[in-house]
């Protein structure tokens, strides 16, 4: 047995009432891998990410982290979530805090870092995403692209093993998308494990190690970017990509 996968998703099911959104999801993510998830609106991409982060509770199947189920009674939710960060489509910066506090406070409360260490770390990361001139600003004084870069710094500050991105650029004006994508590309090159739900096909092709195409609550097809974008096997994948590539 080579490397044990960092995350294993096994027969994952999720229903909201009678509405089964995820029917049977199986995939592994290796440490250091960058995986993109693409698919039609409503196919269950966000739901999948939210299950991995346990913002939603799976109705069936299992999710293993370092080979251990995260659904067990003995798993401490806050520790797990600190290791599996999430970046949202709507940024969700804490409105009552400044940029610096947004990045510092979670470190202090969850990881119990002292203020000085948290601040050093926060400033370093904010500088990396180019937001250091704005440390004293409140979220509502920033543009969407700036907010998202702060949100990425905030997630990074927890020193996560995996970062989940749910359409991080969908809410942004086109001219700001690149700022955020560049930040993510730089992150990918650091060797961080990333699972990215995105509609940015070019980005998925250039940055990912693997692309997963979701359709109707299952993984319809997965493979390297070259396989999925260059030579898709399933008709659903072909149709989906054709529509997207025509648009671009």
């Amino acid at each position: 047995m080579a490397d044990e996968p960092l995350i294993q998703v096994k027969n994952l099911k999720k229903s909201f009432g009678n509405h089964e959104v995820l029917t049977d999801i199986n995939f592994n993510v290796q440490a250091g891998e960058v995986v993109s998830i693409i698919g039609r609106s409503g196919s269950g991409k966000s739901t999948l990410l939210r299950n991995i982060n346990l913002l939603e509770t799976p109705t069936g199947g299992d999710i293993l982290f370092h080979g251990k189920s995260i659904l067990g009674e003995d798993v401490k939710l806050s520790t797990y979530r600190a290791k599996v960060g999430m970046v949202f489509q709507s940024f969700n910066l804490f409105n009552n805090m400044t940029v610096l506090q947004n990045v510092m406070v979670p470190q202090q409360t969850v990881l119990k870092r002292d203020a000085a260490a948290a601040k050093t770390h926060a400033l370093e990361l904010l500088k990396q995403v180019g937001m250091d001139p704005f440390i004293a600003a409140k979220p509502d004084q920033l543009s969407g692209g700036q907010e998202q870069r702060v949100a990425i710094a905030r997630a990074e500050a927890m020193d996560p093993e995996v970062l989940l991105f749910d359409e991080p650029t969908s809410a942004l004006d086109p001219e700001m998308v690149d700022d955020v994508l560049n930040t993510m590309t730089a992150l990918a090159h650091t060797g961080l494990t990333m699972i990215i739900v995105t509609h940015e096909m070019a980005f998925a092709r250039d940055v990912s190690d693997r692309v997963i195409f979701m359709n109707n609550g299952i993984i319809a097809e997965s493979g390297t970017p070259d396989q999925i974008f260059g030579n898709p096997q399933q008709t659903a994948t072909k149709e989906f990509l054709k529509r997207y590539l025509n648009r671009v």
Binding site: L55, S78, F88, E124, D132
Partner: protein, 530 residues
């Protein structure tokens, strides 16, 4: 004597006595285990009872205050206490608070110019009358009516009386009288009489004496026996209210029998002489402030204390309840059950305290607890407790609304970062919820400033009760309440301004200047070291 100007409170009084009637089955023993005789009165109904600043003229200290009570009722109370070999203490209580204070044992007797009406007899006992306040007619000394001996002598006279009193109804007993429109207060009637607009006005004897003393041109008529107004005993008799089956009733009646009519008249004359009079000359504002400034100040202080503590403690209660009610559903069945029970209790608390008037809550807590469990609370403590719990119920809902209105994404981001519910609440949600709730909390504060006035029912002398006292004994209703309104307005205005400033401060500067903040980044220089 009926308290004409408090008729509005009758309904409330009835509600209270019904409510407390439930407790009444249980006999309450004497309020005072010690050797005191506690007498309840408003201390604001001259010449029967009033509040003064010194112990002059055998005044009696008002319990828990720096002020003294005096008046006809107080002098009677002193005699009664002496006969019972006890020390007299005055408990200043609003009119509505008197019956529950008596039945719950907070006081031993009501001597407050109260008439033994059949309604009141249902809940409390009365002694024989200690004063009979007959109707008289006040006239000019130099007029032809000065020698009148019978109401029939007023045929053709222009007569009036105070608005909405039985005095005014009594005018109908005079054949051929010219009934003038009713007037608002005695000072106005005295002026009208002196100027000749009217020939006389009907009042009770104490006002007749007062008028005589105040204006040497006026006098009141001593009607011959059987020639005066026909009145109902429940209007004219004043008696001492006691708890049912009070063993001292016989002893008190014995004592009252020894006080002759002549002695009673003497006591009343003395009371009229000693009653506080507000200077009519000069600036009315300065006159009231000079005489009653300290009382108004103390009342204002009490009102502020109640509103401030009530809002502050209520706010803390509201926060706690708000947090508890928004805890996410736990997974374990047992915990879920516990949570359901707690939530049910909390909503019960909110419904009960929002759904009932604060005056009833105060009476139940203060009088009801004393009656049912002999739990004797300090009245200020009870008042603070009630305002706090009551405000807490309102603010719980305000905070809950504030929490709900915080964007769902804030919760998700905090959870995704690994924060616990408590951490999420403390660091992220509550600061935003509190900020959003501030205008509503300010509103609660202002409501508290005004609504704590009902706490006079449990003898708390806040601003409105002080105003009532002053108006009742100076007879300057309009001017007194004008001043009181002014004080209320100053308080509420200041508070709303203050909270606006706090809101502004919490919001921070409106715009963000990158250039300014770049310098701030330069200073820490921590980022580059690691």
């Amino acid at each position: 004597m009926k308290k004409h100007w408090v008729a509005r409170l009758g309904v409330l009084g009835l509600a209270l006595s019904l409510l407390l009637g439930g407790f009444a089955a249980k006999p309450v023993n004497a309020a005072s285990d010690d050797n005191t005789f506690k007498v309840g009165m408003e201390a604001g109904y001259a010449p029967f009872n009033w509040t003064q600043n010194t112990d002059a003229n055998h005044a009696v200290k008002i319990q828990g205050s720096h002020e003294y009570a005096n008046g006809y009722d107080v002098q009677i109370a002193r005699k009664v206490a002496k006969a019972l070999h006890k020390k007299v203490v005055v408990v200043k209580t609003s009119w509505d608070g008197l019956p529950p204070a008596l039945t719950s044992g907070k006081i031993d007797a009501i001597i407050a110019g109260m008439s033994p009406t059949p309604d009141r007899r249902k809940t409390i006992d009365f002694t024989n009358p200690y004063y009979i306040s007959n109707l008289t007619m006040v006239v000019r000394k130099d007029s032809k009516y000065a020698k009148a001996k019978s109401i029939a002598d007023f045929k053709g006279a222009k007569v009036t009386a105070q608005l909405s009193t039985y005095h005014y109804q009594a005018i109908n007993q005079i054949k051929g009288v010219v009934k003038e429109p009713a007037m608002n207060d005695f000072p106005a009637m005295r002026v009208a009489l002196e100027s000749g607009t009217i020939d006389g006005y009907v009042s009770e004897v104490p006002e007749g004496i007062t008028a005589e003393r105040a204006n040497p041109n006026l006098m009141y008529i001593h009607f011959a026996k059987g020639q005066g107004f026909k009145t109902d005993a429940s209007d004219t008799n004043l008696a001492i209210g006691l708890r049912k089956n009070d063993p001292n009733k016989a002893k008190i009646n014995e004592l009252l029998a020894t006080i002759s009519n002549k002695e009673r008249a003497r006591l009343m004359n003395e009371a009229v002489d000693n009653q506080p009079s507000t200077e009519k000359s000069g600036n009315w504002f300065m006159a009231i402030m000079k005489q009653y400034g300290p009382m108004l100040l103390r009342g204002t202080g009490m009102t502020l204390l109640l509103a401030l503590v009530g809002t502050l403690v209520g706010f803390i209660i509201g926060l706690l309840v708000g947090i508890i009610r928004t805890i996410p559903k736990p997974k374990k069945l047992g915990q879920r059950g516990l949570r359901a029970v707690i939530n049910w209790l909390l909503s019960l608390y909110i419904e009960v305290f929002r759904g009932t008037p604060m005056i009833v809550q105060a009476a139940v807590l203060y009088y009801g607890a004393a009656q049912a469990w002999h739990l004797n609370m300090d009245r200020t403590t009870a008042a603070l407790l009630i305002v706090s719990i009551n405000t807490g119920a309102y603010i719980s809902e305000i905070i809950r609304g504030g929490i709900i209105s915080v964007d769902e994404g804030q919760f998700e981001a905090a959870s995704a970062l690994g924060m616990t519910h408590l951490q999420t609440m403390m660091k992220v949600i509550l600061p935003q919820a509190v900020r959003n709730s501030l205008p509503a909390v300010t509103n609660e504060f202002i409501v508290n400033i005004k609504d704590t006035s009902v706490l006079s029912v449990i003898s708390v002398s806040e601003l409105f009760f002080s105003g009532e006292t002053i108006a009742g004994q100076s007879f300057q209703f309009f001017h007194t309440y004008l001043i009181v309104s002014g004080i209320y307005l100053i308080m509420t205005f200041t508070i709303s301004r203050l909270f606006r400033l706090i809101e502004k401060h919490l919001d921070g500067p409106k715009d963000y200047n990158v250039m300014n903040n770049q310098m701030q980044v330069e200073t820490p220089k921590i980022g580059t070291e690691s």
